[in-house]
């Protein structure tokens, strides 16, 4: 089995802010991490490799420093990593990104055909959940999103049985391989990487593929290949603050009573 995992380097979202004066992103000092959902995708691929045998290859698109997420994946137990990096890719939206990744995966498949492609359910910087489906659509393979459990892979018949997480329910699916899966965090728990993996990762130099190495059309990548554009960014609007009912510390009982009277009087809570 050949498992391919798409990973993305993202800024640690809890630390990104907008400068209210210039409306620009303050990225200064914000650490980069592997997208947390992608980490679970790598973990799952490695577990499946341990169970069914085979190989795990991670692929990422990003600037040269995105090498770090490939090395992180090697720590988790991936065998190999490829970084798609070219200045022409900069400014790609989800459509262009899925195109570049697809072209990278196709090139990879020339060498070693894949059985399963994994993605995180979404990236925490954009939260779009579009690149995974985009790759599946382009490769014309089944797309199975929000996977929370892989029950079984039939290596002989090339089929997979898995559970998808839907609103308030889970769906049991069987599908033909190759297929693309996007995964949720509940799927597995990340294991603490053993030292030999850490050493291997520290030594690892991923292959870097540019527009020279993969076949891409110029008008499908970067800004030219991106139908969407950011018109503006701004700090989230604040809802108008309301009324503070005084006395909460000195006389909580009486203050609570006042609040309840207001809620009932203004019919916010119906008096049954």
């Amino acid at each position: 089995m050949h498992f391919v995992v798409c990973v993305k380097q993202v800024p640690d979202s809890s630390e990104v802010r907008v400068d209210p004066e210039t409306n620009t992103l303050i990225r200064e000092g914000v650490p980069s991490i592997i997208n947390p959902y992608d980490a679970h995708a790598v973990e799952e691929a490695v577990r499946l490799k341990e169970k069914y045998g085979g190989k795990v290859t991670v692929i990422s698109m990003g600037p040269p420093q995105a090498e770090e997420v490939i090395r992180k994946s090697i720590q988790f137990g991936a065998d190999e990593g490829i970084l798609l990096s070219d200045r022409k890719f900069a400014g790609s939206d989800t459509l262009a990104t899925s195109y570049v990744l697809t072209q990278g995966i196709k090139k990879l498949a020339e060498r070693e055909p894949f059985d399963l492609i994994f993605c995180g359910k979404q990236a925490i910087d954009g939260d779009t959940a579009q690149v995974g489906p985009g790759i599946a659509a382009r490769l014309k393979i089944p797309q199975l999103t929000y996977v929370l459990n892989i029950e079984e892979i039939n290596v002989e018949e090339k089929t997979i049985k898995l559970h998808r997480k839907l609103e308030g329910m889970r769906e049991v699916i069987s599908a033909k391989l190759p297929a693309l899966l996007t995964v949720v965090q509940d799927l597995n728990e990340l294991r603490y990487a053993p030292l030999p993996n850490m050493i291997r990762a520290a030594r690892y130099r991923p292959q870097v593929w540019t527009t020279e190495n993969i076949e891409v059309e110029d008008d499908k990548i970067g800004l030219n290949g991106s139908p969407t554009a950011v018109r503006k960014i701004f700090a989230p609007p604040e809802r108008e603050g309301g009324e503070i009912i005084p006395g909460g510390q000195e006389n909580p009982e009486e203050t609570a009573r006042k609040l309840v009277e207001r809620l009932l009087k203004e019919e916010i809570i119906a008096d049954k």
Binding site: S98, M169, A175, A179, P227
Partner: protein, 417 residues
């Protein structure tokens, strides 16, 4: 003659690059650069720049005949693209149904879509796919649609990306809608990514606001990014349809008018079951509160200030009295006091109840984005400067362990329970 770049203002958003009809702009290391040979000083980029980083130079001096020709040629190409875009008309809403029931978010989107369609002076259409779902079509009309496109086929009984995407792509290619809206539900997000890729168009996920730009007629799609720390307005200029998903309960539910009627257009899918690679084996209901949380009219939510697992009982008592549901902030969930299915916020459920009680929740932005559209917010917190008070309709600065039991007691007395 070329436009001038004010480098210190440039935020590298690339909007001008996409706008430029002459491909005269490009981003070099995050800053826009002008190719003076291509730039005609037309000013399109200056207009769109959100950061005032571009400036028109003095009006161009006389151009050579060749230059004039070149400009005219390029303008023609731009006009052609714009004409092609004009072929796309109508606002579509994908009607998400599960086992014969339309998801409420679809009605919410019909309400929003109605406004957009009126603004564009075009039709609002519902798109309904499924098996034996014809009778559902009229509901879309009740909630504001002028027309419903219907694909009714046994192959469409269960939702599968493969078949639904094929159906929607087929309809879209035939009828060329200007805008397609879907709920940002599991199904909507699964489907929209596949469809947008097939149609090679732009898609904006999780929009919280949609509007039509007066001057250009483009759909302005505003959404939170970076965990809700910032908001971004996205446009899709040269591709159609413009696709967006919106989370449930972000838009208001429109009034139902059962007297409304309209046209139902039937289309065939043209896929047989043997050719479908994915089968749904089973659907298992999960008995978890999240099912109810997003439908709850009253939510009593607790955060870090609740202090421990045991104290959630105090909240539960109030919730039970008012017929509400328990919710929680990420801090309370991460502390292990309550299950993840109760989590409200960016990484949990988005809720829009009539009343949201926030007890001991400080109001981190990631929580606020999941509940700030609630009709009324009541907050109790010990810290007077907690951000939750900025969104609260009513607030009490105090200890929830004292205030909440007192509230429960007062409600009991007043309601005569």
């Amino acid at each position: 003659m070329a436009v001038k770049v004010i480098k210190k203002n440039c935020i590298g958003c690339g909007l001008c690059v996409q706008t430029c009809p002459f491909e005269a702009l490009q981003l070099v290391e995050g800053i826009v650069e002008v190719d003076p040979d291509k730039c005609t000083n037309c000013g399109d980029c200056v207009e769109v720049c959100p950061a005032s980083a571009l400036e028109l130079n003095e009006p161009p001096e006389k151009m050579s005949d060749n230059e004039v020709k070149e400009v005219e040629k390029r303008e023609k190409i731009v006009k052609k693209i714009k004409r092609e875009l004009e072929d796309y008309r109508g606002v579509w809403v994908f009607l998400e149904q599960f086992r014969g029931e339309i998801a409420p978010v679809s009605f919410e989107l019909l309400g929003e879509g109605r406004k957009l369609a009126d603004n564009l002076q075009t039709k609002l259409c519902g798109v309904l796919l499924g098996s034996g779902v014809e009778k559902l079509a009229e509901q879309a009309l009740w909630y504001g649609a002028d027309k419903v496109y219907l694909m009714d086929d046994p192959v469409l009984k269960d939702y599968r990306t493969e078949t639904y995407a094929a159906g929607l792509v087929r309809l879209s290619q035939k009828y060329k809608p200007e805008i397609i809206l879907m709920g940002a539900t599991t199904m909507g997000r699964d489907l929209s990514g596949a469809v947008a890729t097939e149609l090679e168009t732009g898609l904006t996920a999780d929009c919280t606001e949609l509007s039509i730009d007066e001057s250009s007629g483009y759909l302005f799609q505003t959404r939170p990014a970076f965990g809700g720390n910032i908001m971004a307005t996205i446009v899709c200029r040269h591709h159609r349809p413009q696709m967006a998903t919106v989370r449930p309960r972000v838009m208001a539910m429109p009034e139902k008018d059962t007297g409304r009627t309209g046209e139902v257009v039937k289309e065939n899918l043209g896929i047989t079951e043997e050719n479908v690679l994915v089968k749904v084996v089973d659907v298992i209901k999960e008995k978890k509160a999240a099912t109810y949380l997003d439908k709850a009219e009253i939510i009593v939510a607790g955060g870090k200030g609740v202090g421990n697992k045991e104290n959630f009982k105090i909240l539960k008592e109030l919730a039970d009295l008012l017929g509400g549901t328990i919710g929680a902030s990420r801090a309370a969930v991460e502390a292990g006091w309550i299950g993840q299915e109760y989590q409200v916020g960016q990484t949990g459920v988005t809720v829009r109840p009539k009343v949201y009680f926030a007890f001991g929740i400080s109001g981190a932005i990631q929580h606020l984005v999941g509940m700030q559209t609630s009709d009324v917010i009541v907050a109790v917190n010990t810290a007077p400067d907690a951000p939750i008070f900025k969104v609260a309709t009513y607030g009490i600065v105090g200890d929830l362990l004292q205030v909440v039991p007192a509230m429960t007691k007062a409600f009991k007395e007043k309601m005569g329970v």
